[in-house]
Symmetry: C2
Subunit: 376 residues, 2 copies
DNA sequence: TTGAAAGCGCTAACAC
DNA sequence: GTGTTAGCGCTTTCAA
């Protein structure tokens, strides 16, 4: 189909004719022009050049107030709004920050997104969201999406360590902020959760309640953030002078299902713990659910501590004791890191968010007495 | 600051010099060029014109295979990726769909986003997310964000009816798909939930269990989707030949807090219902929580039915009976509607998703006998 | 089969 | 104080 009707095409509208093009557009009787308007349209209607329109929009003082007002008037009448892709093209930056998440169905992340979006909105910035479902391929795809959209920075909350993929961002001058990797690199900052303190506090608290056999259900095997949490737990136990039993160190998947599975295994073990710490609340909820199903009472027989403090901690029964990680603080830290990291030739900085222990009803005194009685 | 150092600026790099500009960029020793690459860079390295590079990237057959391969080689070596804002500018469309949500912390929506994102990904499309927190100002702001980013369509799941704001989208040739308004307009399609059937099924089920005094806790007062749900409930009751008592028709806010508040009121009322239907699961969870706190047993004293079937229905105790709305189906319907609605001069279509009743443990036989005994 | 060049909307450097 | 114009990266005629 090469336009058989032809002749029309012969009229080339090149060169100087460009100027005339949008002049031909006339507003329909109903009101304003349905076509996307450009600055030229506005300029012509206001009897100025597009440069002046640009100046008015960007608040340049070098425009006579009278002219500016006329331009603003036309802008309002025409309901004109700028085309950000032109601006993006001009500057090579898009006023957009990317957020890469592992799993948007974990309530922790929507909460983060909500806070982060609010911060961006204040700065008139945009959010580009990508979720990875813990898949490496999706991570790489997400990073590419960020690159082609020319984002100004990436908040990378996907737990997996992806140095190589992230390098592509840094090479393209896109600062990156990772989650909880506890290390930085050129162009890559990190926001870590103070699990050392958090786990220490939780273990101390449980120890104070008389617990000595404490189990841990981590996140996905091999993922960096899982390791950090597990190691922090182990360190906390040692710090409290408690023995860590390998068989009580389980892995989950940061989801309810993983908690359920871990609880199943835990109940098979002879050395049953009197308390369980988990890598996140969903895991704890899964554990709770399985314990409940098996008729194990919480906290009478086993105490349970989650991590994150998602809203649902408070609706399960018993409400979960948990290590709260403030999503607002996290979002703020990310924004700070992103802004401070704009120069990707510099080494990134390390930021911290310290969790706080929120005590609810899933924890109680260790059941020594109870167990002894039963065993008789 | 008008460049006092002057002389350097005198060398204007205009006109034909443009061609030379990127030729000066040389790849650093480490490997590939850290500057964002353009097609010109690739073209020069491959010894072709940028038009040819474009053809190769877009799979035009009119390129000799040998040339094409050479170009692909350079693209790989240079890790080149296109700049979408240039494409957006060229076409006036961005390959992005906007999603406007009321509240991303309601697990229903992340679930939707997840499914919708997956569908977009298949089509190589992007997602622009905005949340409104039920505020009109935020809705308008979101719509503007969609406009300036030149989205190709908007999935508007924010419950409030915003005909006027949405008109701005349609005027700019952006098709809109609303949620559950049960009406369409030029350029505006709608995906509605079959609450008529759903509520009828739920009421029939409860009626079958002997319930006659059934209460309803809706969503935010005055919001269209709230009205639809309440009206569907009322119709369902009438259809089942049951009386609707005004005092048993309460409003909530689609959140846990609203359910809590509604339950408080409900327990004050003399005519205590034996069953409660709610506008969504969060509301039901709130009701459940308050009933639990007040020592009212579910389902022995009061049966409870939610709506949505979020994951947390299954972790509260007792697990919630609910009207399941499939997020996958919803996302698919939205995509279909968005694609079918591309011609904004046509009237939109009405689509439906029918909920299904999922029976868990929060519902049981009406407690007639129990109550009578107690009253003695 | 390939290249040259216009043009998408915007900004900024420069001219007046 | 305002206008003119190049140029951001890409696609797409049209010409060769």
């Amino acid at each position: 189909m090469k336009c058989p009707e032809g002749s029309l095409q012969v009229v080339r509208k090149h060169g100087k004719e460009r100027q005339k093009k949008s002049a031909k557009r006339s507003a329909p009787p109903g009101g304003w022009n349905a076509d996307a308007q450009s600055m030229r349209t506005i300029a012509q209607l206001a009897g100025v050049s597009s440069a002046t329109v640009s100046r008015v929009i960007n608040g340049s003082t070098a425009v006579r107030e009278e002219t500016a007002e006329r331009v603003r008037q036309v802008i309002r009448e025409q309901r004109y709004f700028p085309n950000t892709s032109a601006i993006t093209m001009k500057y090579g930056r898009s006023g957009t920050y990317g957020v890469i998440l592992p799993d948007i169905t974990n309530p922790f992340y929507p909460d983060f997104v909500r806070n982060f979006e609010a911060i961006l909105l204040e700065r008139n910035l945009e959010l580009l969201l990508a979720t990875t479902d813990f898949h490496t391929a999706r991570i790489q795809q997400s990073i590419r999406r960020m690159l082609v959209r020319r984002v100004d920075g990436v908040a990378f909350l996907s737990s997996e360590e992806e140095r190589d993929s992230l390098a592509a961002l840094v090479h393209n001058r896109v600062p990156v902020v990772t989650a909880d990797l506890q290390k930085t690199a050129v162009g890559v900052s990190d926001v870590a959760i103070g699990f050392a303190q958090g786990m220490a506090e939780a273990v101390r608290y449980l120890h104070g309640l008389g617990h000595r056999e404490i189990g841990f259900v981590g996140g996905n095997e091999g993922i960096t953030t899982s390791n950090v949490r597990r190691d922090s737990f182990v360190a906390a136990m040692q710090g409290a002078g408690l023995a860590v039993h390998e068989e009580l160190l389980l892995t989950g998947d940061y989801r309810i299902s993983g908690g359920v599975a871990a609880a199943e295994s835990l109940l098979q073990i002879k050395r049953r713990p009197t308390a369980i710490l988990t890598a996140n609340d969903l895991t704890a909820i899964g554990v709770l659910r399985e314990l409940h199903r098996r008729g194990v009472r919480v906290p009478e027989e086993i105490s349970l501590v989650g991590c994150d403090d998602i809203e649902y901690c408070d609706i399960v029964s018993p409400p979960l004791t948990t290590l709260r990680i403030s999503r607002l603080e996290l979002a703020q830290r990310y924004m700070t890191a992103l802004e401070a990291g704009r120069d990707v030739t510099q080494k990134g900085k390390q930021y911290w968010v310290v969790p706080t222990l929120v005590i609810r009803s899933s924890t109680g005194p260790a059941p020594k007495a109870v167990r002894k009685k039963r065993q008789k």
